[in-house]
Symmetry: C2
Subunit: 184 residues, 2 copies
């Protein structure tokens, strides 16, 4: 099994004007990314938001499918949503992983922009073969804030298709990136 953790950051991200904001939690982000995380053997899926009301909202969605009526209706969703931990900050995620692995994870971020130091998917597959813990962070809204990206250990190449259109949803991007890194 890969030693990979995933975080979906609602802070620090940017809005369409480039201002740093905390974004709102989107119900289907939790469903889609937890199901992809489960499919590809990701160890935990962290939903990161400093906003208490958004944490409550996320917990309520998860509880419905884990212990509420949704759990009986759809056990496949239950087993995916059980992978989610709601947490205050990416720094707290890193500490949580340290607690589990007895070692800090290397962080890898995603961006729709290319950086001089961007790493390709095949190359990062090889990096992960070390078995060391890695934390893959996705940004909501218009993407992760620049100061956060520049502190990461790795930046993945943007996803490119047949066009120069580059506006995938974070749900779709997360699925594609997990497939590129962990698909068989």
């Amino acid at each position: 099994m890969p030693n990979l953790y995933v975080a979906l950051a609602h802070y620090p991200v940017v809005n369409k004007n480039g201002d740093i904001i905390a974004s709102a939690v989107t119900n289907l982000d939790l469903h889609d990314i937890s199901r992809a995380a489960k499919t590809y053997g990701v160890k935990s899926f962290y939903v990161v938001t400093p906003l208490k009301d958004q944490q409550v909202l996320a917990q309520r969605i998860i509880a419905h499918w884990i212990s509420g009526t949704g759990a009986a209706y759809n056990p496949a969703r239950r087993s995916a949503l059980e992978k989610i931990k709601v947490i205050d900050s990416v720094a707290d995620v890193v500490e949580d992983i340290k607690g589990r692995e007895n070692k800090y994870p290397a962080t890898v971020v995603t961006s729709a922009h290319r950086y001089p130091e961007s790493i390709g998917y095949e190359e990062f597959r090889n990096v992960m073969k070390s078995g060391q813990p890695h934390l893959l962070v996705f940004g909501t809204a218009w993407g992760l804030a620049e100061p956060f990206i520049s502190k990461a250990d790795y930046v993945l190449e943007p996803i490119s298709g047949a066009s120069d259109y580059n506006h995938l949803s974070v749900r779709t991007a997360a699925g594609i990136i997990l497939d590129r890194l962990l698909g068989v």
Copy 2:
């Protein structure tokens, strides 16, 4: 550019009990799959439903982003949602493509199950190199109905990750499959 069309079928699909149903349109399916279609150079994205009220709902969502306040707010969404055509049946999609291409498309369907005749992604990439039109059909709800699958020209292999969990959302599956077929 690839000569590929995509359809999202809300009929004929099955519910969790295996009954053939017409499912409801999901707002984010239109957004996510149109953005993936635009990214990967898909020619058109057909939203297939025989239910008139669901056609109206889909048209209303699209209109908001193409000519409503959404168009000014987010031009990137506009250019993706412009790829959508709402249509009654897959048979009508095939005729629409015939009208554009002067040739019927070969149909390729997706399924979470493996069939003896399933075709791999690399192999289907090669098939598409002919430049002939192909129509890739995704099913909503619990997937496309069996009689529909058996009439298709090709069935793609299921997506496999590091686990045997196989419950991706159709939004995520569509993104991953387009990336496997058209990603660079």
